[in-house]
C-alpha cells in the first residue's frame, strides 16, 4: 500500500488551516495566561502537543485507514477497558474523573473514544451499506456506539455523550437514514431528554436551569463566568482591543479563558473580524473534511471523514454557542484553539485519518 502512496493528493489546504488555527490558538493561550505564573508554560506545552500532533497527522496519513478498521475488535475492547477503569477510579475518589495522569501529562481517554466511535461506526456502515435502512440497522449502530458511550455517560460527562450521539446521527444521516426515522428520533429524543432531566447530576441540572431561567439575583458564581464572557465578546467591537490588550482577559475577569472561553478572549482582543476569521477557519476545515468524504474511495473512508467533520463542527459550534450564551455551559473545547493536549492530539489524529482518506481517493472520481 505504501508504495502507492501519493503525497500529491495530501490536502495541504486542510493541514494549513489546522496549523493556522493551532498557531493562532497558541498565541491566544499565551495572551490568556499572561500574568499567571502557574500557567506560564501552557503555550509551550500546547506547542509541543501541536508538534507531536503534526507527526501524528503525517504518520496516520501514510497508513491506510482500512488497517484501523481491521483492528476494530482490539480497539473497541481496549477503549472500553480504559473507560471502565476511568469510571471505576472515579467512583473510588467520589467524583468525576476525566483523565489519567501519566507523569506530567493528563490523558483524557474520552477524547480518543470519540475517534474510536467514528472508526467503529465507519466500519459498521461500510459493512451494512447494502442492508435495508430499517430499525434493526439503526439499533445495531446505536448498540455499537453505546458500548463505549455508556461509560462516558456514567463518568458523568454529558457533553461528550451528546457529541458522540450527534456524530452517530450525522453518520446515520449520511448513510441513508430514513426521514421518518429521523423525525421519530427527534420526537423520541425530546421526550427522553425531558424524562431524563430529573436523573441528571445536580450541577448539570443547575447549568441548564440557570441558562433557561436566569436568576436576576444570581450575579456571582453561576452566571458570573458567562456574564464575563459576554462582556469580553461585546466589548471587543469590530476590531477588538488588540492582542494582549483585552481588559477582560488580561485582568482575568474572564475565567477559563485559555480553554472553554478562549473564543471570548479572541473576540475581545480581535473583535468581530477576528471571531469571524475563527469561524471561517472552522468552516473551511469542515468543508475540506466533507470534500474528503465525498472523494473517498469507499464507504468506510467517507464515513471516517464525515465523522471527523461532524466532530470538529459540532464541538466548535457548541463551544462558540456557549461563549455567546446561546446554550448552557458544556465544557467542550474550541477545536485546535483551546488549550488541552488530549483534545488537540485526538483532533489531529482525526485530521490524519481524513488526510489518509483523501490521499487514497480514486483518481477517476476527480
Amino acid at each position: 500500500m505504501l508504495k502507492n502512496l501519493s503525497w500529491r493528493h495530501f490536502d495541504f489546504w486542510l493541514l494549513g488551516a489546522v496549523v493556522l488555527a493551532i498557531a493562532f490558538g497558541i498565541a491566544m493561550i499565551d495572551s490568556a495566561v499572561a500574568g499567571n505564573a502557574e500557567l506560564a508554560d501552557y503555550p509551550n506545552r500546547q506547542a509541543i502537543f501541536a508538534g507531536i500532533g503534526l507527526v501524528v497527522i503525517l504518520l496516520v496519513a501514510t497508513i491506510d485507514y482500512n488497517y484501523w478498521l481491521v483492528l476494530y475488535r482490539p480497539m473497541y475492547g481496549v477503549m472500553m477497558v480504559l473507560l471502565i477503569f476511568l469510571f471505576m477510579s472515579a467512583r473510588a475518589v467520589f467524583g468525576a474523573a476525566r483523565w489519567f495522569r501519566v507523569g506530567v501529562i493528563f490523558i483524557q481517554p474520552t477524547e480518543l473514544a470519540k475517534l474510536v466511535v467514528i472508526l467503529i461506526l465507519a466500519r459498521y456502515f461500510d459493512k451494512t451499506k447494502n442492508e435495508p435502512r430499517d430499525l434493526r440497522w439503526i439499533i445495531s449502530s446505536l448498540l455499537w456506539t453505546m458500548g463505549l458511550t455508556i461509560w462516558i455517560l456514567l463518568q458523568p460527562n454529558l457533553s461528550n455523550v451528546i457529541v458522540i450521539i450527534v456524530i452517530w446521527i450525522a453518520m446515520l444521516w449520511m448513510s441513508g437514514l430514513q426521514l421518518k426515522h429521523l423525525v421519530s428520533f427527534a420526537i423520541g429524543g425530546f421526550a427522553l431528554v425531558t424524562a431524563a432531566f430529573p436523573f441528571l447530576q445536580e450541577y448539570q441540572q443547575q447549568r441548564v436551569l440557570t441558562f433557561i431561567f436566569p436568576d436576576p439575583n444570581a450575579t456571582y458564581g453561576e452566571t458570573y463566568n458567562i456574564q464575563q464572557a459576554l462582556i469580553a465578546i461585546g466589548s471587543g467591537s469590530w476590531l477588538g482591543k488588540g492582542y494582549g490588550h483585552g481588559s477582560q482577559v488580561q485582568l482575568r475577569f474572564l475565567k477559563v479563558r485559555h480553554t472553554d472561553f478562549i473564543f471570548s478572549a479572541i473576540s475581545e482582543e480581535f473583535g468581530f473580524v477576528g471571531a469571524l476569521i475563527v469561524i471561517a477557519t472552522l468552516a473551511f476545515i469542515l468543508w475540506r473534511c466533507i470534500r474528503a468524504a465525498r472523494l473517498a474511495r469507499d464507504t468506510s473512508g467517507a464515513m471516517i471523514a464525515f465523522g471527523v467533520a461532524t466532530l470538529i463542527f459540532f464541538q466548535g459550534a457548541v463551544n462558540i454557542a456557549v461563549n455567546l450564551n446561546l446554550i448552557p455551559v458544556s465544557g467542550l473545547p474550541l477545536p485546535f484553539i483551546s488549550y488541552g493536549g488530549s483534545g488537540l492530539l485526538s483532533l489531529m489524529l482525526g485530521v490524519g485519518l481524513v488526510e489518509s482518506v483523501v490521499m487514497r481517493h480514486k483518481l477517476t472520481e476527480f
Partner: protein
C-alpha cells in the same frame, strides 16, 4: 458521483447538501449573535468592561487634631488594626479556604467555626462571637467584595504578622481604621463631643460632599459637631484600574489628594478645666455627703476672659466618657446616658435654662440707674418684706401680697435704709422690687418689664450666645405679650417685681449669666464667648489667628429701645440709646462692694481676704420644676433653690470672670460661691506658674 459505483454505497448529494445547510444555519446564527453583541451592543458591553476594572476610591482625609490653648491634645486620631477577609478573593478551593481560616485562627484567636450564620447576623461588626467561617459566609451572601472584619483592634504585633503572612492567604488583609481618641475623656467631653456615623437621613447631603457613609464619621456633639467642616477636611478621590482580584494596577485618572482637616486650638486651658472639675465635684460631693442624699444633682462652672470672650474652662456635671464612643456608639451606654434624668449628654452650661435669681439683678440695676429710676445718692428703704399689690390690669383693685427679702428669716427688719450700691452688694430683693416695679413715692416709676428686658438682652440674656457648641438654648426674657400668648393671662405687677430679681418667668443659661457679668466687668463690652482660638495646619502653622470679637458695647451701641413710661405702662418709641459708662461703673462698684462690705456683702466671706480685688454677684434662685414638684416642694416659703455665683478679677483690670451654678444647691454664696472662689484661686495659681516659666497667654 453515482450512488452505485463499484465500491458500492455513496452518500446522496442532497444529504450532504442538507448537512451543509444545517452547518450554514448554525454558523449564521453564531455570526448573527456575534454581530449583535459586538457591533450593535458593543458600546454597552464596553461600559461593563470598564466598570469591571475601574474602581473609584475615596481616600479618607485625616481629621484635624484638637488642642487646648497650651497645645495639650484633646482629640486625636489613633490607628486601629482590623483583620479583614474579602470573601470574593478567597481561594476557589474549599480546602484552601479552610487552610487560610485555620492558620489565621491560630494567630488572631478567633475560632474557625462558632455558631451558625443566623447567629452571626445578630452581631454588629467587630463584636466578638461568630467564627471566621460564619462571618465570611454572611459577608459573602451580602457583598462579596466588601471586606468583612473578623478581628478588630488587634495589637500592632499581630497586625504585622497577619500582614506578612497574608501573602499566602488570598482574601485576608489588614485594614487600618483611624479612630478618634480623646486623651482627656470625660473632662472635656461636653466641649469636644464625639463622632458618630453619618445618619441615614443625611447620607445624600454628606455623599455630595465626598463623604463615604458607613466609613466616615461626623461630629455628633461639642466642637466635633460645630467645627465639622473645619476638622473633617476633604476626602481625596482616585480612579484606579483593578484586576479581578481587586489588586490595584494603576491610576486611570490623576488622583485627587485628600485635604487634611485643620487642627484646632481651643481656648480651653485643660489645667484649669481639671481644677474646675475637681472643685465642682468636690463641692457637690461634699454637700451631698453632708445632707446624706443626692441633693445637688448637677452643676456648672465656667471661666472666661471677659476681655476676649475666650472660655478657659467649662465644666458641666454630670458628663459622659466620649472615648466609649470612639469606635461605635454602644447602645447600652447611650441608653444609660439618655435615661439618666440628669441628662449627662447635655452640656448644662449652654443647653439648660434655669431661673437666674439674684445674678439677674445686674440687668435691673443697670437699667434702673441708666433710666433714672434711681440715683446713686438716693437711699431706698429695704425692710425684710414688702407688701405689694398684685394687679393684672390698671383697673384691677389688686390683692395684697408679701414679697420677702432673703434676709427676712434671720433679720426680719431687713437692711433698712440702703443706697443703690448696697442694693447690689447686699442683693436686697426689696430694693430691686422697688427699682423694677416702682414703689409709692419712693420710686414713683419703676423700670418695668419691657425696659428690664431691653437691659437684660443688652447683657446677653434672651438669645443664644453663638458659642461654637451645639444645642444652645436661648433662655427667656418674659414680656406681657409673651405671657398672654403662652400663659393665657395678663401680665401682673407682681410678675414685674419678681422678674426684677430674676425669678418668675425669667430663665437663663449659665453661659448667659456669665456673659452678663463679663459685660459689666469689661466696661460694657460684650465679647463673643468662644471655645475656639486658632486654626492650624499639619505643621502647626497658624491658618486663622485668634481675633476677639466684640458683639457689642452697651455704652456705645444703641441697643436699648426707649419707652415712654407713665404709671407703670410703657409705650415703645422709635429711638434707641446706649448705656452711660457711669452706670456700668456704678454696677461694677456695687459688685465690688459685695466683696468688700463686711456687714452684708454677699461675697465677703469668700473673697474678702482674696489677695486680688474681686467683684461679684450671688444668686439664690427659687425654682419649681418637675423634680421639685414631685418632691412636693413647690409651696410658698418652701421652694427649693438653685445656687449661683458670678465673680470677676482683678477688679481694676478684669481678666477672668467665673460663674458657678449648682442645681438645688441652696444659697448662692455658700454653695456656688466657694466653687467660684477655688476656681479663681486655681486660675491665679496657674497664671503665676506660667509667668514663672516665662510663657503662658
Amino acid at each position: 458521483m453515482s450512488t452505485n459505483s463499484p465500491s458500492g454505497f455513496r452518500t446522496e448529494p442532497w444529504r450532504v447538501l442538507i448537512f451543509y445547510i444545517a452547518a450554514a444555519l448554525v454558523f449564521s446564527m453564531l455570526i448573527f449573535r456575534l454581530f449583535n453583541l459586538q457591533v450593535l451592543e458593543g458600546g454597552n458591553w464596553l461600559v461593563s468592561a470598564e466598570d469591571n476594572y475601574t474602581r473609584e476610591i475615596s481616600v479618607p482625609s485625616s481629621r484635624g487634631i484638637i488642642y487646648d490653648r497650651n497645645g495639650v491634645i484633646l482629640a486625636r486620631n489613633v490607628a486601629s488594626y482590623n483583620v479583614v477577609i474579602t470573601p470574593a478573593y478567597l481561594p476557589d478551593d474549599q480546602a484552601d479556604i479552610e487552610r487560610v481560616y485555620r492558620e489565621l485562627s491560630e494567630i488572631i484567636a478567633v475560632p474557625v467555626n462558632s455558631g451558625t450564620v443566623d447567629d452571626a447576623k445578630l452581631f454588629a461588626a467587630c463584636v466578638p462571637g461568630p467564627g471566621i467561617a460564619q462571618l465570611v459566609e454572611l459577608g459573602d451572601s451580602l457583598a462579596p467584595y466588601t471586606p468583612v472584619p473578623v478581628s478588630c483592634d488587634v495589637d500592632e504585633k499581630t497586625a504585622r504578622i497577619v500582614r506578612e503572612r497574608s501573602v499566602g492567604w488570598p482574601g485576608v488583609s489588614m485594614q487600618i481604621d483611624p479612630i478618634r481618641d480623646y486623651p482627656t475623656g470625660s473632662l472635656t467631653a461636653n466641649i469636644i463631643g464625639f463622632l458618630g456615623p453619618i445618619p441615614a437621613t443625611q447620607v445624600d447631603l454628606y455623599e455630595e460632599l465626598g463623604f463615604v457613609a458607613g466609613r466616615d464619621k461626623i461630629g455628633y456633639a461639642g466642637v466635633e459637631s460645630t467645627l465639622q467642616d473645619i476638622l473633617a477636611g476633604t476626602n481625596g478621590k482616585r480612579v484606579i484600574e483593578v484586576d479581578v482580584a481587586g489588586q490595584e494596577l494603576r491610576n486611570l485618572e490623576a488622583p485627587i489628594e485628600p485635604v487634611a482637616g485643620r487642627n484646632v486650638r481651643l481656648s480651653i486651658d485643660v489645667r484649669l478645666q481639671r481644677a474646675a472639675e475637681g472643685v465642682l465635684l468636690n463641692e457637690i460631693e461634699g454637700w451631698n455627703a453632708y445632707f446624706g442624699q443626692v441633693r445637688i444633682s448637677s452643676g456648672v462652672t465656667i471661666a472666661m476672659n471677659p476681655k476676649t470672650g475666650e472660655i478657659l474652662a467649662m465644666v458641666s456635671y454630670p458628663t459622659y466618657e466620649n472615648n466609649r464612643f470612639a469606635r461605635f456608639i454602644p447602645a447600652y451606654y447611650y441608653q444609660q446616658l439618655s435615661e439618666d434624668s440628669r441628662n449627662p449628654l447635655l452640656n448644662n452650661a449652654i443647653s439648660s435654662e434655669y431661673p437666674p435669681g439674684s445674678v439677674f439683678k445686674l440687668s435691673t440695676a443697670t437699667g434702673a440707674l441708666n433710666e433714672g429710676v434711681v440715683t446713686v445718692d438716693q437711699t431706698i428703704y429695704a425692710p425684710g418684706q414688702l407688701i405689694l399689690t398684685e394687679k393684672f390690669s390698671p383697673n384691677d383693685p389688686g390683692r395684697e401680697r408679701p414679697f420677702v427679702d432673703w434676709i427676712y428669716d434671720e433679720q426680719p427688719e431687713g437692711f433698712g435704709e440702703i443706697n443703690f450700691l448696697r442694693c447690689i452688694a447686699f442683693s436686697s430683693n426689696v430694693c430691686f422690687y422697688k427699682l423694677g416695679g416702682g414703689y409709692e413715692d419712693e420710686i414713683p416709676e419703676g423700670l418695668g418689664i419691657l425696659r428690664l428686658g431691653e437691659y437684660a438682652r443688652a447683657l446677653g440674656y434672651g438669645e443664644p450666645s453663638g458659642i461654637e457648641l451645639p444645642g444652645e438654648t436661648d433662655g427667656l426674657i418674659p414680656s406681657p405679650q409673651w405671657k398672654r400668648i403662652n400663659q393665657g393671662e395678663n401680665w401682673s405687677t407682681g410678675d414685674t417685681y419678681i422678674a426684677s430679681v430674676g425669678q418668675g418667668y425669667v430663665l437663663a443659661t449659665p453661659l448667659q449669666v456669665l456673659m452678663s457679668g463679663a459685660t459689666i466687668a469689661n466696661d460694657g463690652g460684650l465679647m463673643q464667648p468662644t471655645v475656639v482660638r486658632e486654626e492650624l495646619d499639619d505643621e502647626g502653622r497658624l491658618l486663622k489667628p485668634f481675633e476677639p470679637h466684640l458683639k457689642w458695647d452697651i455704652t456705645e451701641t444703641p441697643l436699648i429701645t426707649n419707652f415712654d413710661c407713665d404709671g407703670g405702662y410703657c409705650i415703645e418709641m422709635e429711638t434707641k440709646s446706649a448705656v452711660d459708662p457711669f452706670v456700668v461703673e456704678q454696677v461694677q462698684t456695687g459688685m465690688r462692694l459685695a466683696v468688700t462690705d463686711t456687714l452684708h456683702g454677699t461675697l465677703n466671706k469668700i473673697f474678702g481676704d482674696f489677695p486680688i480685688a474681686v467683684a461679684g454677684k450671688t444668686g439664690t434662685a427659687e425654682y419649681c420644676d418637675d423634680v421639685a414638684l414631685a418632691a412636693n416642694r413647690c409651696t410658698f416659703g418652701n421652694w427649693p433653690t438653685h445656687s449661683w455665683t458670678l465673680a470677676y478679677a482683678p477688679f481694676e483690670d478684669p481678666e477672668i470672670v467665673i460663674m458657678a451654678f449648682m442645681y438645688n444647691g441652696g444659697e448662692g454664696a455658700s454653695v456656688a460661691g466657694p466653687v467660684v472662689g477655688r476656681v479663681m484661686e486655681a486660675y491665679f495659681e496657674l497664671k503665676a506658674i506660667d509667668l514663672a516659666e516665662g510663657g503662658g497667654n
